[in-house]
């Protein structure tokens, strides 16, 4: 594997390999000095055309824990503001010789383009509505850690599926590992070609709540709402929000997950987020070890890499 652009690049074996490696890096993170020299001399550059706290920090921490050097790039203080094109920026950064480029962009397909322009390994850290593979990997790792395995588990992905790259990557990863995925969303927030996805579709959260193993809440993405798809946030919460009442009807060990950042009280009630079966902080923690695994796989473990 040269790049990680989509969950499909990994396949079932690849996802399991990442989880297995992440177990090792979990152990590394618990050492009194949580750092290994595996990527000494390698450079990881982050190229973020969109805002991010957790993903970008997570990649940077992961790279540093592997002893790689980190080059940070963010649009707000770069020559992009002077009108530099993505291609020129990538050429400039590539000329400084990074071994991996972590790319986020508001348009789908940009990481694929970048992969054609650079000799570095490219990791998709989110492209438009398309994919966010490392998020799906850390979610798989979290479910595996809590529930043992994904096979046969019922996972409800709840909310704004249409605008969600996380949902697209998660559906691919969860179903590849044998989970049964149900999308629950207002009809206006389902993607157009959803019939071809390997999922069930429901319009009522109450109907699927009692026998699912995971409720995966998505953020209502106000910044991506170009048209009036929701009557109001209050109505959304009443119909599709994971309220305290609804959470009480879930199986006691069922998980509440969310990729963050969360709109407290919109998708999920604040009280529900603070319960022990809400995994938001674990997801962030697992993000670091899973990204260490991905960097290690791309930069070290691949026998074809130089």
């Amino acid at each position: 594997m040269r790049h990680l652009l989509s969950i499909s690049d990994l396949g079932v074996e690849g996802i399991e390999e990442v989880c297995r490696l992440a177990d090792h890096f979990t152990e590394v993170s618990q050492r009194s000095i949580p750092k290994v020299p595996a990527l000494r001399g390698k450079t990881v550059a982050t190229l973020f055309y969109e805002d991010s706290t957790r993903t970008r920090l997570s990649f940077e921490v992961a790279a540093r824990r592997l002893s790689a050097d980190v080059m940070g790039f963010s649009v707000s203080n770069s020559s992009v503001n002077k009108g530099e094109s993505v291609r020129d920026t990538v050429n400039t950064i590539s000329a400084m010789g990074p071994d991996a480029l972590v790319v986020r962009h508001r348009s789908a397909g940009v990481p694929h383009q970048v992969a054609a322009w650079t000799g570095a390994a490219v990791i998709n850290a989110g492209d438009g509505w398309h994919e966010h593979p490392t998020q799906a990997l850390l979610d798989c790792y979290t479910i595996r850690d809590r529930l043992g395995s994904l096979a046969g588990r019922r996972i409800v992905i709840l909310g704004d599926v249409k605008h969600s790259r996380v949902a697209r990557s998660c559906v691919r990863a969860f179903t590849a590992l044998g989970a049964k995925v149900t999308l629950v969303a207002p009809p206006t927030l389902l993607p157009p070609a959803v019939d071809s996805w390997p999922v069930d579709i429901g319009f009522s959260l109450d109907a699927v709540l009692t026998d699912c193993d995971v409720v995966y809440g998505l953020r209502v993405q106000n910044e991506r709402q170009s048209e009036a798809l929701l009557p109001s946030l209050r109505e959304y919460t009443a119909q599709w929000g994971l309220t305290v009442d609804r959470a009480a009807r879930m199986k006691p060990d069922a998980l509440v997950m969310h990729p963050g950042p969360v709109n407290r009280g919109v998708e999920i009630a604040p009280e529900v987020l603070d319960r022990p079966n809400a995994t938001l902080n674990e997801q962030v923690r697992h993000g670091v070890v899973v990204r260490m695994a991905v960097l290690y796989l791309l930069l070290v473990a691949d026998p074809n890499s130089p």
Binding site: L21, D23, H24, T26, E27, V28, R31, S32, I33, P34, K35, V36, P37, A38, L66, Y296, V300, A301, D302, P303, S305
Partner: protein, 166 residues
């Protein structure tokens, strides 16, 4: 070497560990993944029989610390598990075969992320020579001169020498 020879060698090494450390007070064992783990378990068992004390036993995977990282595909085999604090202890590292010494160098490097032992000693079942680093074992099951193109496999059931398949 046959299974009986291995057993005798384990027994002798256990005695040497007790002698060298004047008992087992403050002694801990760490087996290197994966070949050293069975030997560390057997030595720990022998120590228990001889002295009535079972020292703390851990396992260490050194893949992330190797210096040939990037030269060949290198995936870790089994996670490290060191469920005890070894600061100030004498730590006996255990491996099946000592060859170039590079695994041991990596292991010494890895250990320093966990703590600072009072001393590190090395026990191996087979020392096959061809060292590339200034490393020597403290306890040896058997010195076995080999050629570089041979492969040495040391298990509970015995030691085999095979030709390296090219």
């Amino acid at each position: 070497m046959e299974a009986e020879d291995i057993k005798r060698a384990v027994w002798r090494m256990a005695h040497e560990i007790i002698e060298r450390n004047h008992g087992l007070e403050g002694v801990a064992l760490v087996g290197l993944q994966t070949g050293g783990v069975w030997l560390a378990e057997d030595i720990a068992g022998a120590l228990l029989e001889i002295d009535g004390i079972k020292p703390p036993l851990g396992t260490l995977d050194v893949a992330f610390h190797r210096d040939d990282i990037g030269l060949r595909p290198l995936l870790p085999e089994a996670p490290t598990r060191i469920p005890f604090d070894f600061d100030g202890q004498a730590l006996v590292m255990v491996d099946d075969v000592l060859y170039t010494g590079r695994t041991i160098r990596a292991a010494l490097d890895a250990l320093s992320s966990y703590g600072r032992p009072r001393a590190v000693q090395l026990a191996v079942m087979v020392d096959r020579g061809h060292r590339e680093l200034p490393i020597r074992p403290d306890y040896v099951g058997k010195n076995l001169p080999t050629r570089r193109d041979e492969m040495v496999d040391a298990r509970r059931e015995g030691v085999d020498i095979g030709e390296l398949v090219k």
